[in-house]
Amino acid sequence: MTDTSTAPGQGFLSIRGLTKRYAGFTAVDNLDLEVPKGELVAFLGPSGCGKTTSLRMIAGLVPATSGRIVVGGQDLTEVATHRRDMGLVFQSYALFPHMSVAKNVAFGLEMRKVPKDEIAKRVKEAIALVHLTGKEEHRPAQLSGGQQQRVALARALVIRPSILLFDEPLSNLDAKLRDEMRNEIRDIQRRLGITAIFVTHDQSEALTMCDKVVVMNQGRLEQLGTPVDLYERPKTAFVASFVGRTNRLKAVATDGFADFGGQRFAAPGDLSGPVEVMVRPHRIALAPTGGEGVAGTIMRATFAGDILQYDIDVAGQTVSVELATRGGETVLAPGTTVALSWRPQDVFVYGAAA
């Protein structure tokens, strides 16, 4: 396993022990994170995992209960939002409804007392950057959702913030527009070399756009790593099941080995007792009975065009298997017995408590 986190103090954005407690529950629990300059880092997790609260603490919109937020060596924990110099792109865009596109974009520069002619120049550039030239005098209500999103982006970029924050910015767009904006945001962020944090509950967004991903669950950091790390080497059962799809199978471990359907897997550490064994559906190979592997009986076959999906009963548990179709394969009928096999590196074993 490669440790991709940077040592404390090495990041441009450094978060140490960040915690937010509300009466009765902890929204964010002791978050440590180092983000190097120029990286795009995703905060990924289910709703209520603390990712948005973390982002809002970084922006200063929610006061932290404890912990520090340091940017470029300067401690911002006690600094008011309007002095933090961060750009935030909101889920709802939060455009100023009573101002034109140009006025929206110019607002942050006006607050910084930038000279008028320079404001005009930079607003023009920012609007061009998000391909909205010609819409300067429109009101937000006259724009489509995608265009509003671009205005929000331009407004956050134009102030050249030290850090750019995104709070689920694409969740209100339709699928096609979302893909387009994904690439655009990624390109702009790379081109400008801005350090950015991108909160999302959509794993494909996190995996495809970001340099690194922070997976959060119940206020805690589950894993920090590159998209490949998370997918191929998930540290916890939560990460394995949240990032990509996986079979979660019950097994019992003894002496460092888990037993499932007559096969033994190395269990990490000295796990013993009930464990969870995880294998991704498309990393399982099927062979006729008698071949290598675990014996199972097909219960249901579903043909979904690009994949062929089987639900297979293995010793009383259902294993989902997906095979990419190449054309010409026969769909196995329910009741057929088969042998399931996989490569050792595709299997993860976790304590069942997780």
């Binding site: 509300y22 929204a27 709703s47 209520g48 603390g50 990712k51 609260t53 809002r56 919109l61 006061p63």
Partner: protein, 286 residues
């Protein structure tokens, strides 16, 4: 979303106090103190000469309770107000239902027509009623034109009831409209496909669904009728005795403030009773 969990920050108490101090001052000086003082004053003593003395006396209350004039006044006020409320409901319901079913610009125009009277002084509207109801007014000139005897429509309860009904209608219409929010046209359509004729739909579907609006409107109108006094004064011409007009007379003309105070407290008691009835009715409906 976690964002929703984040409550607005509790800022400094000093700031809050500074921001609400002016309104609190007006409230304390113009509302709380006067009302508490009013309750206290209903126990003051009034000497036969008319002078008022600070004391704790039940004399005024004794007079209000024992004197049949006041008992009649109360009963009169309540029955007249109930009648007005019922009439207001009957007159307002068609307008509200029609408004609920209209749409677009037409609806806006009708809504303006409903609200405009509300924003016009009761004096102006009562004056209009004088023009309609007086001896030389619209109705009587029509009636005598037909060769019939002129009617006494003013300076009696009839005039007061007609005038107040019209004056309270906008309140009733708005309350009904608010209650009509629950009226989904698809429910009526469903009843219709199940074989209910229009009147049955009205009785079994529309009426029960609009009950909360009806209850609210009735409460509002009853309360306003009990406490109104401009219209009873002008259309009643001093010949219709109601609680509100009596309070004004005692306060301004007779200058018996303790008596006016105890009658005011009585009005509040009637309010309270109406409110209790309303909550009971609402619970029975929902």
């Amino acid at each position: 979303m976690p964002a929703a969990v984040a409550k607005p920050r509790r800022n400094g108490l000093a700031l809050v106090i500074a921001l609400i101090a002016p309104i609190a001052l007006v409230n304390a000086f113009g509302f709380l103190a006067p009302v508490l003082n009013l309750a206290r004053m209903s126990f003051y003593e009034v000497e036969p000469t008319g002078t008022m003395r600070e004391a704790f006396s039940l004399a005024t209350w004794g007079k209000v309770i024992a004197d049949t004039f006041y008992a009649e006044l109360i009963v009169n006020s309540i029955t007249v107000s109930l009648g007005i409320t019922l009439l207001t409901l009957i007159c307002s319901y068609p307008i509200a239902l029609y408004l609920h079913r209209s749409s677009g610009t037409w609806r806006t125009i009708l809504l303006v027509l409903v609200i405009s009277p509300l924003l016009t002084s009761a004096v102006v509207r009562t004056y209009g009623w004088i023009a309609i109801l007086s001896e030389n007014g619209l109705v009587n000139n029509l009636v005598s034109g037909l060769g019939l005897e002129r009617l006494r429509l003013m300076f009696n309860k009839t005039g007061v009831v007609i005038g107040l009904t019209e004056i309270l209608m906008p309140y009733m219409i708005l309350a009904l409209l608010a209650g009509f929010g629950r009226l989904d046209p698809r429910v009526e359509e469903a009843a219709s496909t199940l074989g209910a004729p229009p009147f049955t739909i009205f009785r079994r579907i529309i009426l029960p669904l609009t009950m909360p609006g009806i209850a609210l409107g009735c409460l509002l109108c009853f309360v306003l009728a009990v406490s109104s006094f401009i219209t009873p004064k002008l259309l009643g011409g001093g010949r219709v005795f109601l609680l509100a007009t009596e309070i004004y007379d005692q306060a301004i003309v007779t200058l018996n403030w303790p008596l006016a105070a105890s009658l005011s407290i009585l009005v509040l008691v009637i309010f309270g009773a109406a409110l209790v009835l309303y909550t009971r009715a609402l619970r029975a409906i929902l």
